[in-house]
């Protein structure tokens, strides 16, 4: 290859349409006679619905239908949950609820009108007779005897208990010199893609063999298609789902929502195109939330800092119902509870708990940020208790580089790693030893400086199908067109990550073409062969590998044609600068365009070769991948105001081989911003009546440009042998690494006051209070 594209900073192919306003998100698609849907949503956290009167709303000019639960009962099936665990209570829920509502924002009626303003007007004309019921929003209270029950029939608010263990945990605690305990709250946050959810559906009814087309803002178009077909009893081949431009997902669009079946149902029933675009208020009420765990941690440690055992009880807030994957999310916390450490004896018990809140489900990292948070906070607590340096505790417990593949006590096999190298590189960047000395000096002068370290390993590239709820493979087609240009179809469904560019890099390098010669298509079930989608940092490691494998197949065929045309042996032919030639005789060449044309004209086929130049591959990964790294935050705290200021933010990540340095930087930046957002700013708050207090951007704070420091990024490269590209995935790394780094830095800044924990978000008010409360007395302070 003349120029190698893999590994370079390549400008994105996606961008021209996005920077000129010509891209099409769902709401940008205009169909004639489209009707608009508005939802009436519960204003109570828990209530019986005695009656819904929609008669006035139906009379409003422009309104064509108003539906409630009674209209879909027996017609639509309950919404599925595929991420279940054994022996769980599984409540039924529907696109429109009837009888009882269990959280603020639960949809109870849908208005369809010929104008979006009229649809909203009609909501005001619906009368609902609610009978409020006692509410429970706090998980610990929900588990108490006598707590209000979301489901009387279960007799408890516990949805399930899930356990994992390895080694001999009791023995570990007997042999420990001491036990370090922590209770951590990993608060509920909202994913907040800038584009809210949106669904548009059109049914072309021809009397027979009607066709349904659904545009939805999703990360999993094929799964949505199968689900819609099942829910509406339609043959799957007559359902087409398109994820057009998708304005961010972060996990909350790896779901199958009630609106995604109700809007198509309405389009079929009313025989007009129907559109629904979620408002931001609805989005914070009724789109998946993330995290929301309480961790009770006990670490069995030796006096030298060695962790011999880790026992954790987790309360995981499910909200009022399970969405598609809700129960399985906290099990990932359990699987990853060893982190980068050699902890041989572990046990975790997860209790899924129902409360009067929106469901939790996947949010960037999905269970793994919680694992890293609890581990990295525990490592610092151990260091503080034993008066050791946090670096020393980590180095002492890390898995050694020569121990890979490494089997953890939870049964995972880590592919490759060098955790020491990433930590050391990050320490070198901040000048750790000097920084500690400076911190000591500044402390004596009354200045509060904190250094927070977070070393993580994450589980990515979901994943082997046996261990993934919906199948963990991915598909790709590489099609060389008759003119030698190339179309790639991928089952991954990117929504900002830039795979149109990175996959084009892989193919352009392989065929000796330029970026302009390649187009990558995705997200349309009528265009792309069945695929799984984009989540769990899997697009490049799994989807990219499928592209790579399809590429090898099509190259093999193109090589046959070239050898036939050049009358040479096919061995030793190379693809470079648009040509194919024997490596030792570049003068004797044929262009890829000539080869492609010959393959399609098919006048002179090589023996036993079919016409055409297309290959498809389905790649089933043999393992997950395990990216890792260390993030270090250095902060100053103003004791007078509790304000936090960043001195440095250094991230050293290892995602294996890097395809595009520019987009990897972008993924890490964005990930850090979200993880830092959780550490300092973000929290979904319900009051004791189940009212959502953070229902708009006035109250739910996602970081703005001036809230964030300049991130300093570096990498180590430890390729994986799980896939031929050696790539591990990087979509969630920043979110996972950053949150504990920031919290550890703040706690470290206040450590000399005896502060051992403050629960997130670390708002200035909370920090200020901690400082003030502590000033006159000594001893550890815990502020929840």
């Amino acid at each position: 290859m003349a120029t190698k594209l893999i590994g370079e900073r390549i400008k994105r192919k996606e961008d021209p349409r996005l920077i000129t306003g010509t891209a099409s998100y769902v709401d940008d698609i205009k169909l004639p006679n489209v009707h608009h849907v508005a939802f009436l949503r519960s204003i109570y956290g828990h209530a019986k619905i005695n009656k819904i009167d929609v008669s006035e709303a139906r009379k409003l000019p422009g309104v064509v239908a108003v539906l409630t639960h009674d209209d879909i009962k027996g017609v639509l099936k309950p919404m599925p949950c595929v991420g279940g665990v054994p022996d769980m209570h599984t409540p039924e829920h529907y696109p429109l609820s009837g009888g009882k509502v269990r959280f603020v924002g639960e949809a109870i009626a849908a208005v369809v009108a010929n104008d979006r303003y009229v649809a909203r007007d009609a909501l005001d004309l619906i009368n609902v007779d609610y009978e409020p019921l006692p509410v429970v929003v706090d998980m610990e209270k929900a588990l108490e005897k006598g707590a209000p029950l979301l489901y009387e029939e279960y007799g408890e608010n516990r949805g399930f208990t899930w356990k994992i263990s390895g080694g001999d945990i009791d023995k570990a605690f007997q042999e420990a010199d001491r036990v370090v305990k922590l209770r951590l709250v990993n608060q509920r946050v909202a994913p907040i893609p800038l584009e809210t959810r949106a669904v548009l559906a059109q049914y072309q009814d021809r009397g027979v063999e009607g066709e349904l087309t659904v545009w939805t803002s999703t990360q999993i178009p094929h799964g949505i298609r199968t689900s819609i077909a099942g829910m509406l009893n339609l043959p799957e081949h007559r359902v087409r789902v398109i994820a057009p431009e998708v304005g961010g997902g972060f996990g909350c669009k790896v779901d199958f929502y009630g609106e995604e079946v109700l809007i198509p149902y309405l389009a079929m029933k009313l025989k007009v195109p129907v559109k629904w675009v979620e408002g931001r208020r609805e989005n914070i009420q009724a789109t998946d939330h993330g995290r929301d765990q309480i961790n009770y941690i006990e670490a069995a440690v030796k006096n030298d800092g060695t962790v011999v055992g880790l026992r954790v009880k987790v309360l995981a807030d499910m909200g009022a119902y399970y969405q598609l994957l809700s129960p399985v999310i906290p099990t990932l916390t359990g699987l990853m509870m060893c982190g980068p450490y050699k902890i041989s004896n572990v046990s975790m018990e997860v209790l899924g708990v129902f409360t009067n809140k929106m469901a939790t489900d996947a949010y960037r990292g999905a269970g793994r940020p919680e694992a890293t948070y609890l581990l990295e906070r525990t490592m610092d607590a151990i260091a503080a208790e034993l008066n050791l340096d946090p670096v020393e505790v980590r180095m002492k417990n890390f898995i050694q580089p020569n121990e890979f593949p490494y089997k953890t006590a939870t049964g995972l096999v880590y592919d490759s790693g060098n955790y020491q190298a990433a930590l050391q590189k990050a320490l070198d960047h901040v000048g750790y030893t000097k920084l500690r000395e400076e911190q000591k000096k500044l402390r004596e002068q009354g200045q509060y400086v904190g250094i927070g370290i977070s070393s993580y390993v994450e589980i990515c590239a979901f994943g082997p199908s046996a261990a993934t709820a919906t199948g963990g493979w991915e598909s790709a087609t590489v099609r060389i067109e008759p003119t030698g240009k190339v179309t790639v179809l991928t089952g991954s469904s990117p929504h900002g990550q830039g795979q149109e560019t990175t996959f084009a890099q892989i193919v352009a390098d392989g065929l000796g073409l330029t970026m302009e010669d390649i187009t990558v298509q995705h997200g349309d079930t009528a265009v792309v062969q069945y695929g799984i989608g984009t989540f769990g940092s899997r697009a490049t490691a799994v989807g990219g590998t499928a592209v790579y494998l399809a590429l090898q197949k099509v190259k093999e065929k193109a090589t046959k044609f070239a050898a036939h045309m050049l009358k040479v042996d096919s061995k030793g032919l190379v693809f470079r600068d648009g040509k194919i030639f024997p490596e030792n005789n570049p003068e004797k060449s044929v262009t890829l365009t000539e080869v492609a044309l010959a393959a399609y004209l098919a006048k002179d086929l090589p023996p036993d070769t079919e016409p055409g130049l297309v290959a498809t591959a389905f790649y089933e990964p043999k393992n997950f991948t395990f990216p890792f790294g260390t993030h270090i935050a250095v902060v100053d705290i103003d004791p007078e105001t509790g304000q936090i200021k960043f001195r440095r933010y250094v991230a050293v990540d290892d995602c294996g081989n890097i395809i595009n340095m520019l987009t990897v930087h972008g993924q890490v930046h964005g990930g850090i911003a979200q993880g830092l957002g959780q550490a300092l700013y973000e929290e979904v708050v319900y009051d004791e009546n189940g009212q959502l207090l953070t229902g708009s951007f006035m109250d739910y704070c996602i970081p703005k440009a001036h809230h964030l420091p300049k991130f300093e990024l570096d990498y180590t490269v430890t390729p994986t042998n799980v896939n031929p590209l050696g790539v591990k995935g990087v979509g969630e790394a920043g979110t996972i690494g950053s949150t504990p780094a920031v919290v550890n830095a703040v706690i470290d800044a206040l450590a000399h006051l005896g502060v051992r924990n403050i629960d997130m978000p670390l708002k200035p008010e909370k920090i200020w209070k901690t400082i003030k409360e502590h000033a006159p007395k000594k001893g550890p302070i815990i502020v929840a």
Binding site: I19, G21, T22, G248, H669, A673, M698
Partner: protein, 156 residues
């Protein structure tokens, strides 16, 4: 009662009858058909709907179309001239200032305004200048670099 408004959008004059309650952003998107301007929050915080109205960056989700009467509006679609990208657009492409692209039109319009007011802003001034725009993908660092790129380009 519908009202007649006359506006110039991206250099082209037009006249429409609109409901008094119609938001400017819905007018642009649904009546004029310029869907590059997005809606991200409806409370004028996220800035995805930012357009230039008489030279000032405004949130078109909290302005009524009738308030824009007699006004001159520039949207993302009107920023490139003769097929040539505006330096801020170019900066976003060069510096990877976008991922999902949903906030991008508003971000670019805000970037244009920042540089109109201060052709040589510091990093801190750019971050402050983006106070009215939210991005959930990029962590803003590449957006800041994109605007710095444009500033450099527009100065030379």
């Amino acid at each position: 009662m519908k009202q007649v408004i006359q506006v110039t959008i991206n250099g082209k004059p037009r006249q429409d009858e609109v409901e008094p309650r119609l938001l400017l952003v819905h007018y642009l998107r649904d009546v004029v058909g310029l869907t590059g301007t997005h809606i991200g929050c409806e409370t004028s915080i996220c800035g995805a709907c930012t357009v230039l109205l008489n030279g000032a960056a405004v949130k078109s989700c909290t302005i009524l179309a009738v308030q824009a009467n007699k006004g001159e509006i520039v949207t993302i679609e009107g920023l490139a001239t003769n097929g040539k990208l505006h330096p801020v657009q170019e900066g976003f492409w060069e510096r990877h200032g976008l991922q999902c692209g949903f906030c991008t039109p508003g971000m670019i319009m805000a970037g244009v305004q920042i540089l109109q007011r201060n052709p040589n802003p510091t990093e801190e001034q750019i971050r402050e200048g983006l106070e009215g725009n939210l991005c959930r993908c990029t962590g803003y660092q590449h957006i800041v670099e994109a605007i710095q790129y444009a500033a450099q380009k527009m100065r030379t």
